[in-house]
């Protein structure tokens, strides 16, 4: 059984339902969100046909571009967003560790720091 099937696009490549197996709301909702942001998408949605089966159906209807390309672009966009979250998070962890180190040093040398850490609240 193929893991990702494209249905309904034989006559018209603009509209298709992608049936993806071994996936659930984790990917379905994220993918639907990214698809909605694409201006070429006329309609998009996802469903879980039956809760006992780990399968999602993602429906994409576009304004002229083949649905498969739009889906691939959305997946690439999601990967780019993830990458950026990862780098931003790692940078924040480094900053936090550096600040912790500075605080510990100043505490050891007997200097009291005026503010605890440099985490600024918005």
């Amino acid at each position: 059984m193929a893991a990702t099937m494209e249905l309904g696009s034989e006559t018209d490549p603009r509209n298709a339902t992608f049936s993806i197996s071994d996936e659930d709301h984790t990917l379905g909702n994220s993918l639907r969100f990214v698809l909605n942001k694409d201006p070429r998408v006329a309609f998009c949605g996802y469903s879980v046909p039956h809760p006992s089966e780990t399968r999602i159906n993602v429906r994409v209807q576009t304004t002229g571009v083949p649905a498969r390309d739009v889906l691939k672009d959305a997946l690439n966009d999601l990967m780019a967003m993830n990458q950026h979250v990862s780098t931003t998070f790692n940078r924040a962890v480094e900053t936090f560790k550096a600040n912790q180190g500075v605080n510990e040093l100043s505490m050891k040398s007997g200097v009291t720091s005026q503010h605890s850490g440099s985490v600024k609240k918005p």
Binding site: T4, L27, P39, R40, A80, M81, S86, R91, A92, V93
Partner: protein, 317 residues
């Protein structure tokens, strides 16, 4: 409608607006803020942290002797839930048919006898620190039918292993209780799995997020009303600010708000105070059970979401 042009702008906007701030971080917990993502992505990270980041946990228990009052299956169930301090990225998955080898199995042994020494009773509780790691593989006697593990080399030399070897994360978990004369002798084999198969493989005690509360004062609240408002809130969200001679109420710490709605209780208060949530500000709390550090867990969760996308892209091409 523009084709394709808007996509790149969207990603750039996202990258510009995303902010991550670590509030607190230690060996076990992390609390951090992510501002600028959508609930769908935040929830995806939460779901992956709970169910799809792999861990090592005891799956097969070979019991040689169990004369305690704890039944075999109950004992095996309890052993499966013990958190094992081993980096799951050093190990491979093991399927049913595969042989257990040093790359996919961790072997533990419990060999405890409860004895009476004069007045004292020794080993009346079997704790998780009495579970010994066997880096050379299974010590169960072979018979002609089954060979329990075939370790090619010792796991002691596995790169990335902590100096103390592999053990249970917490040494004081009581696994079973014994009385004099009772003994437990068993071997537990731990393999890699993920939380969606069984909760013992979940790497987090819990991973949760909440959205930052937004407290708005619809009108100027002054004087006695302001003091009343500051008193009402159980978590100290409001403060008094002296503007000239007038005492005004301000929202000082919306982060502490638990949305208990005490501030809108009473006549007319719901017209003065408005409680909502900031749609894209998520306060994540991740409590790790010990296999991986919490910040590493979050990075792994992002990697797993990327792998899911990658898998579908390759299938579509």
């Amino acid at each position: 409608m523009a084709y394709g042009v808007d996509n790149s702008l969207r990603i750039e906007d996202f990258c510009k607006n995303l902010r991550v701030e670590i509030i607190s971080m230690n060996e076990e917990d992390i609390e951090f803020d992510i501002v600028g993502i959508d609930a769908a992505i935040a929830n995806a990270f939460r779901r992956i942290l709970i169910a799809e980041v792999p861990t090592m946990a005891i799956e097969k228990v070979y019991i040689a002797n169990n004369t305690s009052v704890i039944q075999d299956e109950v004992l095996a169930h309890r052993l499966g839930l013990l958190p094992i301090k081993a980096d799951p990225r050093l190990f491979d998955y093991k399927s049913e048919e595969e042989n257990a080898n040093e790359k996919n199995t961790i072997v533990f042994k419990i060999d405890v006898v409860c004895t009476r020494k004069g007045e004292r009773v020794l080993n009346s509780s079997v704790t998780s620190d009495q579970m010994k790691w066997l880096p050379e593989g299974s010590e169960m006697p072979f018979n002609t039918m089954t060979k329990f593990t075939s370790f090619g080399s010792s796991q002691k030399n596995l790169p990335g292993l902590p100096a103390e070897g592999i053990s249970c994360q917490y040494p004081d978990i009581i696994v079973a209780k014994l009385r004099p004369g009772q003994a437990i002798e068993l071997e537990g084999h731990a393999i890699k799995g993920s939380g969606n198969i069984h909760a013992k493989w979940s790497p987090v005690a819990t991973a949760r997020y909440r959205m930052l509360p937004e407290v708005n004062l619809m009108e100027d609240i002054q004087g006695k009303l302001a003091e009343e408002l500051v008193q009402k809130c159980p978590t100290g969200v409001f403060d008094i600010e002296d503007v000239g001679t007038v005492k005004k109420a301000i929202v000082a710490r919306p982060r502490n708000c638990t949305l208990c709605r005490e501030c809108v209780r009473g006549t007319d208060w719901d017209k003065r105070v408005q409680l909502t949530r900031v749609k894209d500000h998520f306060i994540f709390t991740i409590e790790s059970t010990g296999a991986l550090r919490p910040e590493v867990l979050f990075t792994e969760a992002i990697k797993i979401l990327n792998e899911k996308c990658h898998r579908i892209i390759t299938e579509l091409s």
